[in-house]
Amino acid sequence: MSRAQTAGSRMAGLPAPLRALVVVTLLYLFLGGVKLLETGIKGLGSDFTDGLFEGVTNPLAGLFVGVLATVLVQSSSVTTATIVGLVAGDVLSVSTAVPMIMGANIGTTVTNTIVSLTHLRRGEEFRRAFAAATMHDFFNVIAVAVLLPIEIVTGVLSGTAQSVASFIAGGQELGGSFNSPIKGAVAWLADQIEAIVLVPLLPNDRAIAVGAIILGISLIFVTLAYITKNMRILVADRIERSLNAALGRSGLIGMVVGTLVTISVQSSSITTSILIPLVASGILLVRNAYPVTLGANIGTTITALLAALGAGAIDGLTIAVTHTLFNIAGILLIYPWPATRFIPVAVAERLADVALERRQLAIGYVAVAFIVLPLVGVILL
């Protein structure tokens, strides 16, 4: 390679240990952001916050809010971490937040579906890419279609999550809090930010609370983006090796690899978007990419769990565990049974065949499924 190429690709950026330190710092700031959000919400007082999410007590509206919010920020990690902060701050109840978390799962698939549209001009390539992207959509929609009604009627997911959260927190019930080494360090950071940045700049408590909310959400958004970016560079070799090893192996291996890759980069969109060009080029079959995608669903829940450990509220931890349980339950519901295992893939491949004939349909599908339908749903419900 030319000197310029070598310098550009290999020498650019930080040495790995320094980059790892940057990631740890960003993670600390991310948790600080969640804590700031929680602090800000609490600072506004219950008379203000009680009415804030009244409109989304309808589970379908909550679901659509989750989809829209995630489509907007292009990251389910940001949405779920924010929801954890809102639940920890008592703005959202666990039961209201559950459909939102499920909506975030659906919304996050928009990223790789958009990535698949970049192959539009090359027929076969596009067909494979679009099928690989939309199988994730269909899997998540089927999981929500089955599990949301069950959750509304029985509360089985949030109930189990509450028991798990209570166990982790040493027997605390909903509404309580728990201590963790992370929580103490994060609370200190949030206090410092408030004292050094917000208090000198803002005139009263309400303004400080609003400032904390804005700064908290901004920190969540920015730090997660940079954590993902840096982790992707840090673990690129490992991702390449493990994905190579998973190609064509058993579904379970693919799932574990998908989970590990997503935990490491803190983004299911990154994992699934990596798969799209591989499937498009024919190196990876849609059916081999499928379990990796499901693993990504589980891996992405780590962000909300981290956020909950930083926030230190049982309710926040409950919603984060619900997110994990929902994704595991979705896989157990569909994947182990030969009759249902490949339904999402088959539907996605059928849609891809149709979209190959009428390519405007692919763009229409993205617009309707991820924007129009949720928007209409939120307005009407």
């Binding site: 390679m1 030319s2 000197r3 310029a4 190429q5 070598t6 550009g8 690709s9 650019a12 992707r232 560079i233 690129a236 070799d237 490992r238 991702i239 390449e240 090796r241 493990s242 994905l243 190579n244 090893a245 998973a246 192996r249 291996i253 574990v256 690899v257 590990l260 890759v261 490491s264 990596i274 798969l275 799209i276 060009p277 591989l278 080029s281 190196i283």
Partner: protein, 222 residues
């Protein structure tokens, strides 16, 4: 498999680099077997099978390189794009070295035999020069040594002019047709192998858009 995630190891790009060197060395093996056939051995079942099996290995390595580059591009995005594009181009050159070496074996198959050629020593000298060039190229690429790559390109450039001269001379000769055609093709294949080695070497110091032009007339090069 899953544990690969936790192990440290080489990147896809480093594996590609290793494979390219292996392909070049395999190309040298095909070349050795092929020239041995035109310099005395003639066609043989064993030589044919050796040439075919090494060529299959080269082709499989080419596919592996492309798969690895695709994986790298998917995982790393644009970070290594110039490198990936350069290797995608270079792998074709390295594969062609094997192909042209195989074509020399085909000459033996069609009856070309330099065993009793009056200028055998000279023909062998050209053979040795290409063999040495292949060895040096593998070494230089493995080290990513841009300084030696420049030297090798200059040296190979001289070979190209010499092969061109010999092709021209042979086509105008009045000797037996089989001998003239055999010689013309022999020099033509040596020239192509040399040109592909030059492309590989130039990829160590030229930008991507300027690759693949070193087999052209010096006036037409960028």
């Amino acid at each position: 498999m899953v544990l690969d995630f936790f192990r440290s190891g080489t990147s896809q790009i480093e594996e590609v680099e290793t494979r390219l060197v292996t392909m070049l060395r395999d190309g040298r093996r095909v070349f050795d077997t092929s020239v041995a056939a035109v310099f005395g051995g003639g066609k043989s079942r064993e030589a044919k099978s050796t040439v075919k099996s090494i060529d299959r290995e080269i082709n499989e390595n080419q596919r592996e390189v492309r798969r690895a580059l695709m994986m790298s591009a998917s995982v790393r995005g644009t970070a290594d794009l110039p490198l990936i594009l350069a290797y995608m181009s270079v792998v074709k050159d390295v594969e062609r070295v094997g192909d042209y070496a195989k074509n020399i074996y085909d000459l033996a198959k069609y009856g070309v035999d330099f065993t009793t050629a009056a200028d055998r020593d000279e023909l062998e000298a050209y053979r040795d020069a290409v063999a040495k060039l292949l060895d040096e190229a593998a070494e230089v690429f493995a080290e990513r040594n841009t300084e030696r790559a420049h030297e090798l390109v200059t040296k190979a450039d001289r070979f190209l002019s010499e092969y061109n001269r010999r092709v021209k001379e042979t086509t105008m000769s009045e000797g037996p047709v089989l001998d003239a055609v055999g010689r013309a093709l022999y020099f033509r294949y040596l020239k192509r192998i040399t040109a592909h080695v030059m492309n590989l070497m130039t990829s160590l110091f030229l930008p991507v858009d300027q690759l693949d032009h070193y087999d052209e007339d010096p006036d037409d090069r960028l």
